[in-house]
């Protein structure tokens, strides 16, 4: 089933066009990897999906992005509710400089998801368990989140993202600041999360894309060159540029 459907998406930074006519369908409960060389527009595309590009004054997005039969680029779209449904994990772990508990409870509390302290405790526990962090931090929930290791911080950010039960989780190179062990943990986690969430991950690591994703899209110079099942893209791509990139001839 198709969860997100991007139609003719163009993005401009001022006068410079960053994305050209992107058409891409994202399948529900699958991991879709977006790969491509630096500056190819894959992160820009990812940020279109929860309208994070709104933050950048000069950025203009055109085209349709339909999620649950609703075009999120419509004027009537409420970004606050959109971002409640579409969580995001960033390249660099960015926990709030608050306690672990406050990090997780922030989303549910601003969206009014817990009626009592008990419910909130539950949400925090479930989110941390889903992010495979509970066992490591359950005794220090009221210590600052910035005191964790890099990998733990990133899992904390994932727990924070899933605390509001989003339908989609966007991940912007979530492992680029982590060591291989922490990366393996996150990848395992992604595999687990896809049962309940649709995941779109931007990555520089071809191996990672191959390991975690079911579908892959290859971006180059602001265009979506090729997309499809990960197996096919990696083993038998249609386009020579894709072939060149995957075999490491450029990028």
């Amino acid at each position: 089933m198709i969860k997100i459907s991007a139609k003719n998406v163009d993005v401009f930074y001022g006068k410079k066009q960053a994305l050209f006519n992107i058409n891409l369908d994202i399948e529900e409960n699958q991991v879709t990897a977006l790969i491509g060389p630096s500056g190819c527009g894959k992160s820009t595309f990812l940020r279109c999906l929860n309208r994070m590009n709104d933050v950048i004054d000069i950025c203009k997005v055109q085209g349709e992005i339909v999620i649950n039969d609703f075009n999120i680029n419509d004027k009537g779209c409420d970004v606050v509710r959109l971002r409640e449904k579409i969580g995001m994990v960033f390249q660099k772990p960015n926990p709030f400089p608050k306690t672990l508990y406050e990090n997780i409870s922030y989303g549910p509390s601003i969206h009014g998801m817990a009626q009592s302290k008990q419910e909130m405790d539950e949400i925090v526990e479930i989110s941390l368990k889903k992010a495979a962090l509970w066992e490591e931090v359950k005794d220090r929930l009221h210590e600052p989140g910035t005191g964790l290791s890099g990998g733990q911080q990133q899992r904390l950010c994932i727990a924070r993202a899933i605390s509001v039960q989003p339908e989609v989780i966007l991940m912007d190179e979530p492992c680029s600041a982590l060591d291989p062990i922490a990366t393996a943990q996150i990848e395992e986690l992604i595999d687990e999360l896809k049962k309940e969430h649709t995941i779109i991950i931007v990555t520089h690591s071809m191996a990672q894309a191959a390991r975690v994703s079911q579908r892959t899209g290859f971006f180059h110079l602001g265009e979506l060159i090729e997309h499809g099942l990960t197996d096919k893209i990696f083993k038998n791509p249609d386009n020579t540029k894709t072939q060149d990139y995957i075999t490491g001839r450029f990028g």
Binding site: R83, N94, F96, Y106, G107, R160, A161
Partner: protein
């Protein structure tokens, strides 16, 4: 070739040495000036914290004061102390002629009558007895006792006569002159008489001005900074505003004084010489300082925190109020304190709005006339009496102490919170 290289290397080393030497001598010069300045202030000022008293026997003779044997409190208040006060001074030299008696009277402050009165009111049982009482010495004798007065000048060029010096020396010999901590410097308002002048009125004036300044400038500046930094679109108009805020910070303070004079006093008819007007004028000056500090610390909050909050579905307002502003507070607060410290040392605008007036009462609210510490320094520095020289330095010491405490406080706030967030 090799020789050339060696030469070049030697040149590079020597140029670095030269640079280091210049840098060190610059620092040395700065420290030297500072040390000289501090030494000068302390060496002239420290004597102001001591006050000279003459111990004079006073005969509380009921008859002279027109009192009966058991006077009520009101009677004591209304009694005539002038005669016994005069008499006790004249008694220092029983053979004094009229001119000399006048000189004797001038050896203590004109306040001496009240000092004697206070003594009796505190202890009514003294009535009819004689007691040695501490009287404030005149400012000139105070200076003589502290060794600041050139006694070897010819008499005509001195404000102290030979006769006064003679009597004074006798008193010193008898141990009837004492130097004690000068509490009145802190508790008395300004006075025309150096021995009675204190900083209470200007101190309170400064405190009230700073409070008014803080109450007005802080909320306005923080709101302006948050709006400009977090909400306002970046366009030519906001650029224009930003440039003008920076310009405002560079406007000479006297211009703000003129503004206060022209608008607050002339148009709004606010009471002249009051800390209220002074505080409002100073707040105009402090405003850009706080705005700039607040914007800088908002800018320093990593964008990743804003993105994290926005991506969680927080509105812009929530992102700002829950995350960005609390993180920027330490910087904003220390900027505010530094702005206030600047305002505390400001003189020119206060002179223009009339806070330079002679105020011999201690203000009880921002609506009462008052001076301020730097203006007090200016007033005293203009006074001719020798007694004010040490007061100027002492007042500078108090002001500097205040500024150092404020800056220290700013440092502590910044330091403490920085630790917490990293």
């Amino acid at each position: 070739m090799n020789k050339n290289k060696e030469k070049l290397l030697a040149k590079r080393y020597s140029s670095e040495k030269r640079f280091q030497f210049l840098g060190k001598s610059a620092i040395f010069m700065a420290l030297l000036f500072l040390a000289f300045f501090i030494f000068k202030i302390f060496s002239t000022g420290y004597t102001a914290f001591q006050k000279t008293w003459l111990i004079v026997p006073v005969n509380f003779d009921a008859e002279t004061m027109y009192l009966d044997a058991n006077p009520s409190k009101e009677d004591l208040e209304d009694a005539d102390y002038f005669e016994i006060s005069l008499q006790s001074m004249f008694n220092l030299d029983k053979n004094a002629n009229e001119k000399q008696q006048n000189e004797l009277k001038k050896m203590v402050s004109y306040f001496f009558e009240r000092e004697i009165k206070q003594e009796l009111i505190n202890d009514p049982s003294l009535l009819g007895k004689t007691k040695e009482i501490y009287l404030t010495a005149s400012d000139d004798l105070d200076q003589v006792f502290k060794g600041n007065y050139p006694r070897d000048l010819p008499e005509k060029q001195r404000r102290v006569t030979d006769y006064q010096l003679k009597i004074f020396d006798q008193l010193v010999e008898q141990g009837k002159v004492e130097s004690k901590f000068n509490l009145s410097f802190f508790t008395y308002p300004d006075s025309r008489e150096a021995e009675l002048a204190g900083i209470a009125s200007s101190f309170m004036g400064s405190i009230f001005s700073i409070l008014v300044c803080l109450v007005i400038a802080f909320p306005v500046a923080v709101l302006a900074a948050i709006y400009l930094e977090e909400f306002a679109p970046k366009n030519r108009f906001t650029d224009f505003i930003e440039v003008n805020i920076n310009n405002l910070a560079a406007v000479p303070s006297i211009v703000f004084g003129l503004l206060g004079l022209g608008i607050l006093l002339a148009v709004f008819q606010l009471p002249r010489s009051t800390p209220l007007v002074g505080g409002i004028t100073l707040s105009l000056m402090t405003l850009p300082t706080i705005i700039i500090a607040c914007r800088a610390s908002l800018k320093a909050v990593p964008p990743s925190i804003r993105e994290a909050a926005l991506a969680m579905g927080a509105s812009r307002m929530q992102t700002t109020m829950h995350h960005t502003v609390p993180l920027s507070m330490p910087g904003t607060l220390s900027g505010t304190i530094i702005g206030l410290a600047q305002a505390l040392g400001e003189t020119a605008p206060l002179i223009l709005i009339g806070m330079v007036a002679f105020v011999n009462t201690i203000p009880g609210s921002p609506m009462d006339p008052a001076a301020s510490l730097p203006v007090q320094i200016y007033i005293w520095a203009e006074s001719a009496e020798r007694g004010f020289v040490e007061k100027v330095s002492a007042c500078i010491m108090v002001l500097l102490g205040f500024l150092i405490i404020m800056n220290l406080f700013a440092q502590i706030i910044r330091h403490k919170f920085e630790k917490k967030w990293s």
